[in-house]
């Protein structure tokens, strides 16, 4: 069955440290891949997306993600985390899966230490 896995429920990093949030998917073909961020009290906001082409995609707020077909992964990275990055991050797969669906991962909650 198609699925999206975010293996880390919580991650804590110090401000200024680098960050990598993991996302693995299971799908029969290359799906469309998204990362969204949900800040406290706010709706989800798109960080970046991958459709095709260059496997390293740049997003807003200094985030980037790399699509690795061989690993079925789409990990999100940021070289230097800011306190304002504390939020919940969701990886999502968009594809025709029987009927149209988006599948979201369960999210990774990021805590940033001052």
């Amino acid at each position: 069955a198609q699925s999206v896995t975010q293996p880390d429920i919580h991650i804590t990093v110090s401000e200024g440290a680098s960050l990598e949030l993991r996302c693995n998917y299971s799908y029969g073909a290359t799906p469309y891949l998204f990362w969204y961020v949900q800040s406290p009290g706010q709706g989800l906001q798109l960080l970046l997306k991958y459709f095709s082409g260059d496997t390293l995609v740049q997003g807003i707020k200094g985030f980037e993600a790399e699509f690795k077909r061989s690993q079925s992964s789409f990990n999100l990275r940021k070289p230097s985390v800011h306190w304002s990055d504390a939020a919940e991050y969701f990886c999502a797969v968009g594809a025709r899966l029987g009927t149209y669906k988006y599948i979201f991962g369960t999210g990774t909650r990021l805590k940033v230490l001052a």
């Binding site: 009290g41 706010q42 709706g43 798109l46 969701f90 968009g94 669906k101 979201f104 999210g107």
Partner: protein, 118 residues
């Protein structure tokens, strides 16, 4: 409007009562989606609309859940005879283009309605 809006922002109801949740998508967005987010869990797809097209209801968890959309505008999600397990944040999203077969759309999310069933 500037973004997707949802109302009410919070709703507390008693078990067995019906509730209606409203979503106003971004003007001009043809596709509209409803999701449920239970505490500590990811987003669960419920239903989508493409303009006036019949919705994909495959994600609705039971026949107590239904949704309507007027043209390419407002949508209402109705939960009948609410149960405690319906407590969650209900998120609405809209997108500009629906490719009809590939999940390529960027979805713009509203702030959600937090539903608590006592």
């Amino acid at each position: 409007g500037a973004g997707v809006s949802q109302s009410p922002s919070n709703k507390v109801t008693e078990k067995g009562k019906d509730v209606e949740l409203r979503c106003d998508p971004i003007s001009g967005h043809t596709a509209l989606y409803w999701y449920r987010q239970r505490l500590g869990q990811g987003l669960e797809f419920l239903i989508y609309f493409q303009g006036n097209s019949a919705p994909d209801k495959s994600g609705l968890p039971s026949d107590r859940f239904s949704a309507e959309r007027t043209g390419e505008s407002v949508s209402t999600l109705t939960i009948q005879r609410t149960q405690q397990e319906d407590s969650a944040v209900y998120l609405c999203a809209s997108s500009l283009v629906f490719s009809g077969g590939a999940g390529a759309e960027t979805q713009y999310f509203g702030p959600g309605t937090r539903l608590l069933v006592l």
